[in-house]
């Protein structure tokens, strides 16, 4: 496909090999053939790296390397799922950890591939840009001696004089927006110079996207917080439940906004094939862009984030927070308040714990489920939730006494109970002692431990807050890449030559076209041009059938 003349403009990179001059030089130095100096070695490596084959292999490697991240849970994507997976696979975990398989997309080997790919890309693009720059002003190459040798060519004889044919060809090709060069007996024309520009733009834009992506990764942050309706949040590190900062993130970059979750509403579908599905989530926020600013209202919905400065606030989850009060044996309130239960299924059966380390005579821990619309399954002999809406709520919890392990100084999840030094309350027959409460109900724990009451239900919303600097750079990069891509795919560079000479009293006109994109079919173009030249035989519809 590589035409013999003119600068190399199609998708060919130099093959990685040592020039013969290098080899000769090496021999003169008294080295064995093939032995390279450091400089030659570096040059060789550079050529290899920037060759198209290497780029191809790297591309395929990149695709291959991305696969494990889609199969193994990723820490950066979902830390909870990752830790659960790790718990379930104790033997694989250390091996995977070593290989970086839980953080594939920031692992050294993944980074190595894309950095090499980028180096290869730069190494290819820069020289090509220079070549392109020179080629941009080049005149179309002279017509090859024998046009009939080109795969796409045509010829006809006419009485029209040579000059007229060439002038007509020149005008025709100009009109078709070719760059035209007229020689003595032939017209050379070339078009599609912008294809390579599109190609270069595409590859440079890939770098822009990466820069934007990297800026987001380094300077951005993403954090989540679960807020019970009625509570507020102000944007600083201490308020987050989980927080994933970029490596160069500074807490001072956080914008000082704050908001209160005033209300939260959901529509539950009660009929149709999706009955039980919740829709139309709407968290009503009152927010201030800074402590002194006026309060504004915002309906936070899915697909409608709130933008404050460079930060964005998203509604990404919701659930129930039963209000539970625990009094100890002495009658003191040792725990009270909305307790966040995390949903475990579609119908919002949720799991949560209550910890009352100050209870006397012994610490009390409760662990159990919340069912918004409780139902009993005879098959499993246990409760389940029939519907996500809180129509007939119930909490069902087990009671643990002893040391909850909260005085050791190590931090504990508020969503799980350390049961290692506790005992579970049992009935006389040894069955677990379970307390089942509906809103407003209260129960007395045995052995004078105290009481537990279920006072009501509140809702919580999970809010995600993120700052993604560089996102506009990345977007601009992709859009430019797309434009470049369109140019490089659909601009069809081609060369056309028309030669006319006097032969035996008539003018022999030869036309040839060469596609330089590797994907074009120039036969049609050739036909059109050849048919529009002065003196071309008129189309005969009958000839098609011959």
């Amino acid at each position: 496909m590589n035409p013999p003349t003119g600068p190399v403009l199609n998708d060919q990179r130099p093959e990685g090999h040592v020039d013969t001059q290098d080899r000769d030089a090496a021999r003169r130095d008294g080295r064995r053939p093939g032995e390279l100096t450091l400089r030659e070695m570096l040059r060789w490596v550079w050529r290899q790296l920037t060759s198209m084959r290497t780029a191809l292999v790297l591309l395929l490697l990149l695709a291959l390397a991305a696969i494990p991240g889609s199969l193994i849970p990723q820490k950066g994507v979902d830390s909870l799922k990752t830790s659960q997976w790790q718990d379930a696979h104790p033997q694989l975990t250390p091996v995977y950890e070593k290989l970086g398989l839980f953080t594939v997309y920031s692992s050294p080997w993944f980074s190595a591939i894309y950095i090499l790919l980028m180096v290869s890309l730069v190494g290819c693009i820069v020289p090509r840009t220079l070549v392109y720059w020179r080629g941009l002003r080049a005149r179309p190459p002279a017509a090859p001696r024998n046009l009939a040798r080109l795969p796409d060519h045509a010829a006809y004889r006419t009485d029209v004089p040579v000059d007229e044919v060439l002038a007509g060809a020149r005008a025709l090709l100009r009109k078709r927006r070719y760059r035209v060069e007229v020689a003595e007996d032939a017209v050379s024309a070339e078009r599609g110079y912008l294809r390579e520009a599109g190609n270069l733009l595409f590859h440079l834009s890939v770098l822009v996207v990466l820069v934007g992506f990297a800026i987001g990764g380094m300077f951005g942050y993403k954090g989540g917080v679960i807020l019970v309706v009625g509570n507020g949040f102000s944007n600083n590190l201490t308020q987050y439940d989980d927080f994933v900062p970029g490596s160069l993130f500074k807490a001072s970059d956080m914008e000082p906004f704050s908001f209160d979750v005033k209300d939260f509403s959901v529509d539950w579908l009660t009929s149709g094939p999706r009955a039980g599905m919740a829709r139309a989530f709407d968290a009503r926020l009152d927010y201030r862009t800074s402590p002194g600013a006026a309060s504004q209202e915002y309906d936070l919905k899915v697909n409608h984030p709130l933008t404050v400065g460079n930060s964005e606030v998203f509604l990404i989850g919701h659930g129930y927070a039963p209000v539970i009060t625990v009094r100890d044996g002495k009658g003191n309130v040792v725990y009270s308040g909305p307790t966040i239960f995390l949903p475990t299924d579609q119908s919002f059966a949720s799991f949560g714990v209550v910890k009352a380390p100050d209870a006397r005579p012994t610490q009390i821990g409760l662990e159990g489920e919340f069912y918004p619309t409780v139902a009993f399954s005879k098959q499993t002999g246990s409760y389940y939730s029939a519907f996500g809406n809180a129509l007939d709520p119930l909490v069902s919890m087990l009671v643990y006494t002893g040391d909850l392990g909260m005085d050791t100084g190590t931090s504990q999840s508020v969503y799980s109970l350390d049961k290692s030094k506790t005992t579970m309350l049992t009935k006389k027959d040894g069955a677990p002692y379970r307390i089942d409460l509906r809103p407003g109900q209260k129960t007395k724990l045995p052995n004078g431990l105290g009481t537990v009451s279920f006072d009501g239900i509140k809702r919580w919303t999970k809010i995600q807050i993120s700052q993604t600097p560089g996102k506009r750079i990345a977007l601009a990069g992709v859009v430019l890449a797309l434009i470049g891509l369109l140019g490089s795919l659909f601009i069809r560079p081609r060369r056309v030559w028309v030669r006319a000479r006097r032969e035996g009293g008539v003018t022999l006109v030869e036309v040839a076209a060469l596609d330089r994109s590797g994907g074009g079919d120039v036969a049609t173009v050739l036909d059109e041009i050849a048919a529009a030249l002065p003196g071309a035989p008129q189309k005969d519809s009958g000839e098609e059938q011959s």
Binding site: L56, A278, V478, L482
Partner: protein
């Protein structure tokens, strides 16, 4: 019309278009089997212009006129050797059974006509699906609907590109493929019409999914070309049989490239522009390394490799075609594999329900939200 009536209409239209696709397939099979024993050369006069390039361009331009009607008939140049020069204007075969030629032509046209009708019915099925939902919406909210839309686009693209790229030879393959997928959709993927989950309720659903579906359709057509290319390249030059009637490898390669180079920018738009914009709105981060995203990215990279491979020495032709097929495999795995396999893994971490912005790709319970 009530929603229920629309749903019924949609189901009936889908059933009807399945039947018509089947009839179209039969017509094309009759067409092809009639040609079974006819040496490919005899049909050359009716060869689609695009596929007869090597032969045509050797002649004077006036004789190489574009055969407007010729493209209808599923015949093409013969083996790879056909280009070698044995086909001057004078080698028109002497004995062509006119009855047989007429039958071939008739069934070819009939097949195409039936395909057009089937695509029309298919469209009615899609519209009905969208109208049946309350509120009305675009008909690609679940796996069944997406399969319906995807196959529609494959069939439509085939019809649109048929003339331009001379795809008549592809007819039985495309129609058979669409029919098979429709059957899969109706038998295994069927879901009653339901409202969209919250995260899907966005105008990006229209832009993002349409572009993804168009790219999927294009890649599928391109993949079919690449498969045929590989087969043809392996056994060049049979004088009779179906393989003799598909274009030469070089032409197949070019058609494949052109379809892919249409699909690739569309896929770029779907996966790297609209996808991230929507992801940013719905899930707070424009790139989450969600399995669906990862595989869309893998597909993108593989097709990028294909486009590069086509112009690299040692990779052109066979290896490039294999890459295109790898790309298609990743594309389908993303659609089928990830939807099923990831819906369970999403479930296992107790995410699904409370995550209202839960990755729509992964689905929640009913697999296959795209």
């Amino acid at each position: 019309m009530t929603d229920a009536a629309w749903e019924t209409l949609s189901n009936q239209a889908v059933a009807a278009c399945g039947v018509v696709y089947f009839l179209a397939l039969l017509a094309h099979l009759v067409e092809w089997s009639s040609l079974r024993n006819v040496p490919a050369d005899t049909a050359r006069t009716a060869a689609p212009r695009a596929t007869a390039k090597a032969a045509a361009t050797a002649k004077a331009p006036a004789t190489a006129t574009t055969g407007a009607d010729a493209g209808r008939v599923a015949v093409a140049t013969g083996g790879a050797s056909g280009a070698a020069g044995a086909d001057g204007p004078g080698d028109t075969p002497a004995a062509v059974d006119p009855d047989r030629t007429r039958r071939v032509e008739l069934f070819g046209r009939l097949g195409l006509l039936l395909t057009v009708i089937a695509v029309g019915l298919h469209f009615v099925g899609l519209v009905g699906r969208g109208m049946a939902a309350d509120p009305n919406r675009v008909p690609w909210g679940n796996m069944y609907e997406f399969t319906l839309s995807g196959t529609f686009i494959v069939a439509l693209l085939y019809l649109v590109l048929n003339r331009r790229l001379g795809l008549a030879w592809m007819a039985p393959i495309v129609v058979g493929f669409v029919l098979a997928l429709l059957m899969v959709a109706v038998l295994w993927l069927y879901d009653p019409v339901a409202p969209l989950t919250e995260a899907l309720d966005s105008y990006w659903l229209v832009i993002h999914v349409v572009s993804a579906a168009i790219a999927t359709g294009a890649f599928t057509l391109g993949g079919i070309c690449s498969v045929v290319y590989l087969v043809k390249e392996r056994r060049p030059g049979p004088a009779t049989g179906p393989l003799a009637r598909v274009p030469e490898p070089a032409v197949l390669d070019r058609i494949s490239y052109r379809i892919h180079s249409f699909g690739f920018p569309v896929w770029t738009f779907a996966v790297l522009i609209t996808g991230p914009i929507w992801a940013h709105q719905a899930w707070s981060s424009y790139w989450n390394w969600d399995p669906k995203e990862v595989w869309a990215f893998i597909t993108w990279v593989v097709y990028a490799a294909y486009l590069h491979a086509r112009s690299t020495a040692g990779w052109k032709g066979r290896n490039a075609a294999i890459l295109a097929l790898v790309g298609m495999a990743t594309l389908w795995f993303n659609f089928i594999g990830i939807n099923y396999f990831s819906s369970t893994s999403q479930h296992s971490y107790a995410g699904g329900a409370h995550q209202i912005g839960a990755p729509v790709h992964a689905g929640d319970g009913s697999p296959g939200r795209l």
